[in-house]
């Protein structure tokens, strides 16, 4: 069966790591944090991984597991590269997630990775300067396939001398729900030139494709010419950047708050939940929409004041579309700064019957990707999710934002929820570059 293409661009799928161009839609994941004691060990590992890295090339039968690798600036340095803006790496990548978490803390430029979400609280050595060199991510059809993939990775690590600092699992919940009780992954950017057969899901919509260069290095982006690529055109093109994130969701606190407010206001809990998200738990948007459910065909042009979908609901703060006079797609500001989310839940489902016995961490883990971390991940977090004044009324994204100690949310019916703390905490972050296969093949042990 010929594979259809989104948009008109022609991309070398076999050279691009698969997670960039397509959502794998696997139920299991495992993310290893790697450290290279020296360049030889790191290069030996990469050379041995090249044959088993999953690309965006069409597959016949779905493989039992997929594997991708992204490197931190420290990791590329350990492999022998000069990682500076002079070698055309973006400044935020050169600095890395820890430095950026510490730098972006002012009220109008707040990444939200401080206090209880600061690097000193991060898992898997991610908060220790110089420790994390790469994240090796595997996705699998089931537990057995994940263990088989792990055995393969473990053998390659032992053979190369590279070290694993630990791993963190991801486990899908039924029907693509997340722990806060919503259906997830309905709205993902459609990349010009990506294989459509592999990205097609219920809810595929009429939103226009996004320029390839927003997500793949070396191509024109929405604003025009490509951004410079690192090291050399051969090395730097057909890659992407990722903010790898471990996001802990305080599910008991969220449902406790939702339950209390529902009782006080005399509405079903799902109404409170929907106001936080901007969608009903089943994915139905609160905004006026068309198309089959869960719809992604909507904007906010008939709702400037948030009387249908609250201005501070999660989907409206993180992807404002036509809100705030941002103008229509594709060039309106509210349609820029898109992020690919390659993430799955982690931890067991919350059991509301036994809230007192619950001491388990759960949340969302994975890659938040784009061709510019500064203009995509960081911009969305600092200017739209956490900015306490620029686009809204001294409030942050109700579900994802840095709301401690006093969150506020004006609901669609005009009543205000307040007094809630932050529900989503950062438990790990790493800024990664996912090189092309061409680039990975240059990392031979001989060099």
């Amino acid at each position: 069966m010929p594979t259809e293409v989104i948009g008109t661009a022609s991309l070398p799928w076999g050279d691009i790591q698969g997670l960039i161009l397509r959502g794998y839609n696997y139920p299991k994941g495992r993310h290893f944090v790697l450290h290279f004691p020296d360049a030889a060990a790191g290069r030996k590992l990469v050379a041995s991984l090249v044959p088993v890295i999953t690309t965006a090339a069409p597959w016949g039968a779905k493989p039992a597991s997929c594997l991708n690798i992204g490197f931190t600036a420290d990791g590329l340095r350990a492999l022998g590269f000069t990682v500076t803006t002079a070698t055309k790496f973006p400044e935020e990548f050169v600095q890395g997630a820890i430095a950026r978490a510490k730098a972006l803390v002012t009220s109008h430029n707040n990444l939200g990775d401080s206090g209880a979400s600061g690097p000193e609280h991060w898992l898997l050595s991610l908060g220790i300067d110089g420790a994390a060199h790469a994240i090796l991510s595997t996705w699998a059809l089931d537990d057995a396939s994940r263990e088989a993939g792990t055995a393969q990775v473990t053998a390659l690590l032992a053979d190369s001398g590279a070290q694993s600092l630990g791993f963190h699992d991801a486990d899908d919940l039924p029907d693509s729900f997340v722990h806060f009780g919503f259906r997830d992954s309905i709205s993902q950017p459609k990349i010009d030139g990506a294989p459509i057969a592999l990205t097609k899901k219920p809810g595929l919509d009429s939103q226009p494709p996004v320029a390839t260069g927003e997500f793949v290095t070396g191509y024109a982006n929405q604003a025009g010419p490509p951004l410079p690529v690192p090291i050399s055109p051969e090395f730097g093109a057909n890659g992407s950047y990722s903010a790898f994130r471990i996001l802990e969701q305080d599910v008991p606190a969220f449902f406790d708050y939702v339950g209390k407010q529902a009782k006080e206001l005399g509405v079903p809990p799902s109404v409170i939940q929907a106001n936080f998200c901007g969608r009903q738990p089943d994915g139905t948007p609160l905004a006026t929409h068309t198309g089959p459910e869960p719809s992604n065909d909507f904007d906010y042009s008939d709702d400037p004041n948030g009387n249908k979908c609250p201005l501070d609901s999660h989907i409206r703060r993180s992807h404002p579309r036509s809100s705030f006079d941002f103008g229509p797609p594709p060039n309106g500001e509210g349609y820029q700064h898109r992020i690919l989310r390659r993430a799955l839940p982690y931890g067991p489902p919350w059991d509301p019957a036994h809230p007192d016995q619950d001491h388990t961490s759960r949340g969302l883990i994975g890659h938040f990707m784009g061709a510019s971390l500064a203009q995509q991940f960081e911009f969305v977090m600092t200017q739209w999710v956490n900015d306490n004044s620029t686009i809204a009324n001294n409030r942050s994204d109700a579900l994802l934002g840095d709301n401690t100690p006093d969150g506020k949310l004006r609901m669609a019916d005009g009543r205000t929820l307040n007094g809630f703390s932050r529900f989503t905490l950062t438990r790990g972050s790493a800024y990664l570059f996912f090189p092309s296969l061409t680039a990975l093949k240059t990392l031979t042990p001989a060099q």
């Binding site: 400037p304 510019s372 911009f379 200017q383 004044s389």
Partner: protein, 138 residues
């Protein structure tokens, strides 16, 4: 309740022009570079001649200028390249080169002349977006 500190901030850049650069042409590039994208953070932008080879770019904007500088750059790299070509002390073009971009961020941070005392605003919590919204309601 409004913060005590206004959401609006001033940006005041004193720019020395290279010999032969016409201030009238230069100011067009300077303003165009900063206003070309509808980002809804800029209240005002204007250029004042200080000397035959010196101008002052003044803008008032909402939030954090550094975070938005890349939005302006990406929307009009040619405008910024013209600014880099005409000004003394700025990095060389092209502005899209990561090293030049980082150097330009640093140049703006260093050359933004801070006000003596506080920046006064009659409406400290009114963003461009909120003002537009009020206009639509009236």
């Amino acid at each position: 309740m409004a913060d005590e500190t206004p959401v609006q901030n001033p940006l005041s850049l004193v720019v020395t022009l290279k010999p032969g650069v016409n201030p009238d042409d230069f100011q067009l590039n300077l303003v165009a570079a900063h206003t070309s994208q509808q980002t809804n953070i800029l209240h005002f932008a204007w250029v004042i001649p200080l000397a035959p080879n010196k101008v002052l770019l003044s803008t008032v904007y909402d939030g954090d200028f550094d975070a938005y500088l890349d939005v302006f750059i990406n929307a009009n790299p040619e405008g910024f390249n013209a600014v880099l070509e005409g000004a003394v002390g700025t990095p060389n073009p092209p502005i899209t080169d990561p090293a030049n971009r980082a150097a330009f961020h640093e140049w703006v941070r260093k050359n933004n002349v801070a006000p003596l005392g506080k920046f006064f605003s009659a409406y400290p919590d009114m963003t461009v977006i909120k003002i537009h919204r009020c206009q639509q309601k009236s």
